[in-house]
């Protein structure tokens, strides 16, 4: 036990004396959280729009006011003719132009029908989509309220509610993914590199020839990373709560336990990588390509798994991150208890057993 403690202390020396490791451990998580939280966002805010109002009546004014007061839009251009629309988009002064047809209010009164034309800059398809849907939602909302007063029969009012994320905040989506990504990077990448470094330097031979057991060596190597990853989990949760206002609906204890489980899994993946190679570069490449990309793309972090081609869906299902993201979402956002995540938890446990068994098999006790 005593020589084991010395081993762990030595490992901390390695970590705290290497600037790169320190940066990955402590700066990257915060930077990633802030980046994903602020920069990569699906929300629209102050989108520039132009208004071409052929009618200039009470109703069109009201609708325009509603658009502006929503906070999503700023009217930067007031147009007077169709010819100006093209120019507006070309010099990128607006993202969308809202066109009201002539005699808007009159037609609405007389025919119960009037047309609004929404033209959006779809060179950025995603935001175009969002802007148009926000605009139509606001206009619909207005029309419905007016209808309620006019009491026109046979109206189907659609009322939608976004469960678990009422305001459709991007942060809700990114926190689970970012947390997963950071744990994968720290646990798998850093541990595999640090174990392989001992092989490269030749110190692994000395350790193996010493009275330390192989298991002690491995646990001693991964322990500090496990502890520091756990610190990171807490940092991320605090950041997401206090900076981005993301609540934790479910049990925080359960969330932390599941995080520990995932840390364990990532560590066993890291150990597995380190048994398969003896060069730091290969280990780093394997971790980057084999873990980082799938965690971002093939896990439901950004793109929904159900919409992928079948083959990619299979890949998602062998990717540990997919399950952890589901677990975090279920606990944090939906507030589910253990019964809501036991299947995913079981999968994670199974994967841990798999990777540890494989590592033990591959662990070469022989000196190179």
């Amino acid at each position: 036990m005593k020589h084991f403690l010395g081993f762990v202390i030595k490992e901390f020396y390695h970590i705290f004396r290497d600037k790169r490791t320190l940066a990955i451990l402590f700066i990257m998580p915060v930077v990633q959280m802030l980046l994903f939280g602020y920069v990569v966002t699906n929300e629209i805010k102050d989108a520039k729009i132009g208004i071409l109002d052929h009618s200039q009546d009470v109703v069109t004014k009201k609708i325009t006011d509603k658009l502006v007061s929503s906070g999503y839009f700023v009217v930067t251009k007031v147009l007077t003719s169709e010819d100006q629309i093209g120019a507006c988009f070309r010099n990128a002064s607006v993202k969308e132009v809202v066109v009201f047809e002539p005699d808007f209010a009159v037609k609405l009164q007389r025919d119960n029908k009037a047309a609004v034309h929404l033209i959006a800059d779809a060179s950025d398809a995603n935001s175009a989509n969002l802007i148009v849907s926000y605009t139509s939602a606001i206009i619909n909302d207005y029309v419905q309220k007016e209808n309620a007063q006019a009491a026109i029969p046979m109206q189907i009012g659609i009322e939608s509610r976004m469960l678990y994320n009422e305001e459709l905040k991007g942060v809700y989506m990114f926190v689970p993914g970012t947390m997963t990504l950071i744990l994968v990077l720290i646990c798998a990448l850093l541990t595999s590199v640090s174990i392989v470094r001992e092989k490269e330097l030749g110190t692994m031979e000395i350790l193996l020839a010493s009275p330390l057991r192989p298991l002690q060596i491995i646990i001693g190597k991964v322990m500090p990373y496990a502890v520091l990853s756990f610190v990171n989990v807490i940092t991320i949760l605090l950041l997401s709560n206090f900076v981005f206002g993301l609540p934790i609906q479910g049990s925080i204890v359960l969330l932390l336990l599941e995080s520990m489980l995932f840390i364990l899994l990532s560590l066993s993946v890291g150990i597995f990588i380190s048994t398969s190679t003896s060069s730091q570069q290969t280990a780093m490449l394997m971790s980057m390509m084999g873990l980082m990309l799938p965690t971002i793309i093939l896990s439901g972090f950004i793109y929904p798994v159900e919409n992928m081609p079948l083959v990619l869906q299979w890949l998602c299902h062998v990717n540990p991150s997919t399950y952890f993201i589901i677990i975090i979402k279920n606990i944090m956002l939906k507030g589910l208890g253990f019964m809501g995540v036991w299947k995913e938890t079981l999968v994670l446990c199974g994967m841990i057993v798999f990777f540890i068994t494989m590592s033990v098999r591959k662990f070469k006790i022989r000196l190179e």
Binding site: F7, H14, R17, G202, I206, L207, A209, R366
Partner: protein
Amino acid sequence: MSTREKIITVSNLYKKFGSFTANDDLTFDVYKGEIFGFLGANGAGKTTAIKILCGLSKPTSGKATIAGFDVYTQTEAIKNSIGYMSQKFSLYEDLTVAENIRFFGGIYGMTRKDIKIKTQLLLDKLGLQDSAKKLIKDLPLGWRQKLAFSIAIVHDPKIVFLDEPTGGVDPITRRQFWNQIYEAASEGVTVFVTTHYMDEAEYCDRVSIMVDGRIAALDTPQKLKETFGADSMNDVFIKLARGDNK
């Protein structure tokens, strides 16, 4: 010679990997305080044999004891009584001299007090008092090697295994290194050293030369040269490797 205490005994040792025989019927003894040279070309089976003697790998058949402990069942006890230094004379570059000593002493179960005393002794002996707090990466290569050897025997092992300890080192440093080895041997540490520098073989008390997994010759350098009618160990080795004696 034979009246001295045997510290390593090996008899009819075989190690096979599938159909390949890496160690073919090895039999030899090493005496306490001896510098035993273990020579052979790459792939002759040196490393395989060392791994077995260090308790890292089990033989296919045959017997071997290290410091009285059996290589099949008492690997833990073996590891506690040996020191090991590889050709990379590895130390942790981002730890200081003192931290390296503390770490390696620690994994051999030395007490904090013992480590402290040893550290002081070792630094004095090597003249490194001022460098105790220096990182290894700031030390010249020659110093690192000396330190690596001192650390390999910091826990007073009965035997120290040196796996090509002088690879890639300049002649002067090699000479100094051998002085260190002599000193250790005179203090009663048995030194088991592999090398491919034939001139170094002359420094050993006895030398065994491995060819194709077998021990082709084993004796003092002097006797070997006489037997093979050679001027130097290099000639002995060339003759053996060609199979002139068969």
